[in-house]
C-alpha cells in the first residue's frame, strides 16, 4: 500500500516532465482586497513574480477557502497552483514543479551559484515569513485591527471567532517551532534588518545589473520582491517592518524595478 503510493508519486513526477505547462494553469489565493493577510500576500506575490519571470501563462482566481483547498505546506499553505492534474502549494514546491517541467529560470547558474542562491532564497523566505507572521499575530494592535477582521471576514458570526482563534493558535505554534514566539519586536526588527543587509550586499555584488545574479532574473529575485514589496505596500497600524525595509534604498529601488518590469507592464 505504502510503496504503491510512492510508486504512483514517482510516476506522477515522471509524467510531469513529459507534459508541457498547460495553458489553463490557475493560481488560487484568498480575496486580495478583503481577506488576504500580509504573509499570504507576500508569498502569493512571490509566486506570481516567479511565474511572470518564467513567462508562463496563468490565471489568478480568488476564493474564500483557498487555504483549505491547498494540499498543505510548511508555512502559509498559500498560494497553490493547479496545472493540469497537479496541485502544488507554496513557493519552493512550485519552483521545483516548474523546474521538472523544464521551463524554469535560473538554469544558467552553475551549481555553486545555484546552491548559493538556494541559501538566500530559504533565508529570505524564512526570515520574512516569520517576521510577517509575528507582526500579524503577536502584535496586539495589528492582530485586533487588521488580522482578525480580515481573517474572519469570510465567515459568518460566530464561526469567524472560532476561525480566528484556531488560526492564531496554529500560527503561534508555528512561530514556536521556529523559536520566534518569545522574541520582542526589537529582536524581530533586528533579524529583518540583518536579512535586508545581506540581500543588499548580494545585490551590490553586481552593481551594474538590476537583478541579484547578473542580468537575468532567478528565484531569489522573485521571493525577495514578493516579501519586500508586500511589506512596504501594506498599511498596518504598526509600520515597524515597512520602516525597516525602507531604510534600504537599494532594495526599494529593486522592488520598484521588478514591479515596473513585470506587473505594471501587464496592466
Amino acid at each position: 500500500m505504502q510503496s504503491s503510493q510512492y510508486l504512483s508519486q514517482l510516476n506522477a513526477f515522471e509524467k510531469m516532465s513529459d507534459e508541457p505547462w498547460p495553458e489553463d494553469a490557475v493560481l488560487y489565493q484568498p480575496y486580495e482586497a478583503e481577506q488576504i493577510l500580509l504573509p499570504e500576500h507576500a508569498s502569493c506575490l512571490a509566486v506570481k513574480a516567479y511565474l511572470k519571470m518564467c513567462q508562463l501563462p496563468f490565471e489568478v482566481r480568488s476564493c474564500a477557502n483557498a487555504e483549505y483547498m491547498s494540499p498543505g505546506g510548511r508555512m502559509t499553505k498559500l498560494p497553490f497552483i493547479r496545472a493540469g492534474a497537479f496541485i502544488v502549494a507554496e513557493f519552493e514546491p512550485i519552483v521545483n514543479f516548474i523546474e521538472h517541467k523544464g521551463s524554469a529560470i535560473g538554469q544558467w547558474l552553475d551549481d555553486d551559484n545555484k546552491a548559493d542562491m538556494r541559501t538566500y532564497v530559504s533565508l529570505a523566505e524564512n526570515i520574512f515569513t516569520m517576521a510577517e507572521l509575528y507582526i500579524s499575530f503577536v502584535n496586539k494592535t495589528v492582530y485586533e485591527k487588521v488580522t482578525a477582521p480580515r481573517n474572519g471576514c469570510v465567515f459568518p458570526w460566530p464561526l469567524n471567532l472560532i476561525q480566528n482563534y484556531s488560526k492564531r493558535r496554529n500560527t503561534l505554534r508555528l512561530l514556536k517551532v521556529y523559536q520566534w514566539n518569545d522574541m520582542t519586536i526589537e529582536d524581530v526588527i533586528e533579524k529583518v534588518e540583518k536579512c535586508c543587509e545581506t540581500l543588499t550586499l548580494k545585490l551590490e555584488e553586481s552593481p551594474d545589473t538590476p537583478f541579484f545574479y547578473s542580468d537575468q532574473p532567478c528565484e531569489l529575485d522573485a521571493i525577495a520582491f514578493g516579501h519586500l514589496f508586500a511589506i512596504i505596500t501594506t498599511d498596518l497600524p504598526n509600520m515597524a517592518l515597512a520602516q525597516t525595509v525602507r531604510k534600504f534604498k537599494r532594495l526599494v529601488e529593486f522592488c520598484q524595478f521588478i514591479d515596473g518590469k513585470y506587473f505594471q507592464m501587464s496592466k
Partner: protein
C-alpha cells in the same frame, strides 16, 4: 391479605368483570428524588375502575406508564383491600412500589447503523431534577463511516394531559464525523440541535419532529489525489437549518412486515443565517401485502431532492445523495450507480429508487422452529436513477437473498445480485452482496 387473588385461583371460572371494585387509595412508593406531581397521572385510570377486571388492567397500565416515565428501574404492583375506619367493603388500595434508577447509569453496546456496525458507550443521569429530565453523554465509534459524540438533555411531558401525544423536548450538543471514503472526503459536524417531537392522533397517527440545528461543518480531504470538484468544497462553513420529519407507520412489524404501509418524509431548509443554503426533501415509503402461503409482496420506494435557494452559492457536497448500495440499489457498490467526476463517485442532486420484493419464509422452516422466524428469503428487483426521473439513465438489478432479523429493529441481508442495466462509469456488484441496516428499499 390478598383476598381477591385467592378467590381467583380457587374458582377459575369467576367472571372478574362482575366483581364490583373501586380504588380508594393509590400509593406510589420509592420516590426519592422524583416529585409527586410527576407520577400523579398513574393513578388517574385506576380510580375509574368499577370492577375487578378493570382494576387489574388499569394497574398493569399504571405499571407500564411508570416504566415509560423513565424514572424506575423496576415497578411492582400490590393490590390490597382497603383498611382503616373509612374503608368501604369493595374498596381496594393499590401500591405501586418502584425502585428508582441510580444517579448515574452507564452502558456499552453495539448498534446497527446504515450499512455499518458501531460501538456505543453511554453515560446518563436520569431524572435529574425529579420530573423526568435526563442528561446523557454518548459516544459511538463506527467501523466504516461515522463517529459521534453527543451530550443530550431531554425531557418528556408524559405526565401532562398530553400523554397520548407523547411530547418530548431535547437539546443536544454534538460532534459528528462522517467519512465518505468513496469520495475521499470527510465532514466534521460540530453544533447543537434542539428537537421537539409529538404524535398527532387524528385522523391517523403521525409522528412529527421539528428540529433546529446550528452547526459548523468542516469538509476535509482523505486522500492526496482528489478531483478538484471535491477539493473546492473544503473548509469550514456555518449551517443553520430547520428540519421537519413526519412518519406514518402502520406496519405490523418494522423488520419483516407482512402487511401495512410506512411513509417517512424528512424535509430540511438550510439558510437561516450561516453560509450554507439549500432545501432538501427525502421521502421513503414501503407497502406490504400478504399473499398465499406466508408469501408477502412488498413495494418500496425512495425519492430525494436537494435544491438551491436564492442564497445558495454552492450546494454542500455532504448533503448530496449517493446512489446505489446494498440498502438501496442492490447490485451496485455504495455510491456506485451515481455521477462520477474524474473517476470518483460523488453524490447527485436528485435520486430515486424502487424495489419490488417477494418475501417468503425459510423453506422447511418448521424444522428449525422458532429460529426460522428470524429468517426470510426474498426475490427482488430494484431500479433507480439520478438527476432525472425518466427511465433513460435508469440502473436496475435483480437477485435473490436471505435476510436475518436483528433485535426487532435491524436487518442483515445476504443477496446474490445480477445487475441488469448498468453504465460504464458504474461500480456494479455481480455476485454476493452484504447489507446491514434498518431502512431498506
Amino acid at each position: 391479605m390478598p383476598r381477591p387473588t385467592r378467590t381467583v385461583k380457587e374458582q377459575a371460572k369467576v367472571d372478574l368483570s362482575k366483581i364490583p371494585a373501586h380504588v380508594e387509595r393509590v400509593n406510589v412508593s420509592g420516590l426519592l428524588r422524583t416529585h409527586n406531581d410527576y407520577v400523579m397521572k398513574a393513578a388517574e385510570g385506576l380510580f375509574k375502575a368499577r370492577n375487578f377486571q378493570d382494576l387489574m388492567i388499569e394497574s398493569m397500565n399504571a405499571k407500564s406508564y411508570l416504566h415509560e416515565l423513565g424514572i424506575f428501574k423496576d415497578v411492582q404492583v400490590r393490590v390490597d383491600v382497603s383498611k382503616g375506619e373509612n374503608a368501604s367493603p369493595n374498596g381496594y388500595e393499590i401500591t405501586l412500589k418502584g425502585q428508582e434508577l441510580s444517579r448515574l447509569v452507564g452502558s456499552v453496546g453495539t448498534e446497527v447503523g446504515q450499512n455499518e456496525g458501531s460501538l456505543r458507550t453511554e453515560l446518563s443521569i436520569p431524572n435529574l431534577f425529579g420530573r423526568g429530565e435526563s442528561v446523557s453523554l454518548q459516544g459511538s465509534y463506527a467501523t466504516t463511516r461515522a463517529n459521534e459524540l453527543q451530550l443530550r438533555f431531554w425531557k418528556s411531558f408524559f405526565h401532562t394531559r398530553f400523554v397520548e401525544n407523547r411530547p418530548e423536548v431535547s437539546l443536544s450538543l454534538f460532534r459528528h464525523v462522517d467519512r465518505m471514503d468513496i469520495s475521499s472526503f470527510q465532514n466534521a459536524n460540530l453544533g447543537f440541535l434542539t428537537d421537539f417531537s409529538i404524535n398527532s392522533l387524528y385522523p391517523f397517527e403521525l409522528t412529527h419532529s421539528i428540529q433546529y440545528e446550528a452547526s459548523i461543518r468542516e469538509t476535509s480531504l482523505l486522500a492526496k489525489q482528489v478531483p478538484f470538484a471535491i477539493r473546492e468544497h473544503c473548509g469550514p462553513k456555518l449551517a443553520s437549518l430547520v428540519r421537519y420529519s413526519v412518519i406514518y407507520d402502520q406496519r405490523d412489524n418494522p423488520v419483516f412486515p407482512t402487511q401495512g404501509l410506512m411513509l417517512k418524509s424528512v424535509n430540511e431548509y438550510c439558510g437561516l443565517g450561516g453560509n450554507v443554503a439549500y432545501m432538501s426533501s427525502t421521502t421513503h415509503g414501503e407497502i406490504s401485502v400478504p399473499l398465499i402461503a406466508g408469501l408477502v409482496a412488498q413495494v418500496c420506494g425512495r425519492i430525494g431532492v436537494i435544491k438551491e435557494t436564492k442564497n445558495t452559492t454552492v450546494l454542500p457536497i455532504s448533503s448530496l445523495f449517493y446512489c446505489g448500495g446494498p440498502l438501496t440499489l442492490r447490485g451496485f457498490k455504495y455510491g456506485g450507480a451515481g455521477p462520477v467526476v474524474d473517476g470518483t463517485s460523488i453524490g447527485a442532486q436528485t435520486h430515486w429508487c424502487t424495489g419490488l420484493h417477494l418475501w417468503g419464509p425459510l423453506p422447511f422452516n418448521h424444522v428449525f422452529k422458532g429460529l426460522a422466524n428470524n429468517f426470510r428469503t426474498h426475490l427482488f428487483y430494484n431500479c433507480g436513477g439520478f438527476n432525472s426521473f425518466s427511465a433513460e439513465n435508469m440502473r436496475s438489478a435483480f437477485g435473490v437473498g436471505l435476510a436475518f432479523k436483528l433485535a426487532e429493529r435491524a436487518r442483515i441481508e445476504m443477496n446474490y445480485c445480477i445487475p441488469v442495466r448498468k453504465y460504464a462509469s458504474d461500480k456494479p456488484v455481480n455476485g454476493f452482496q452484504f447489507g446491514i441496516g434498518y431502512e431498506f428499499v
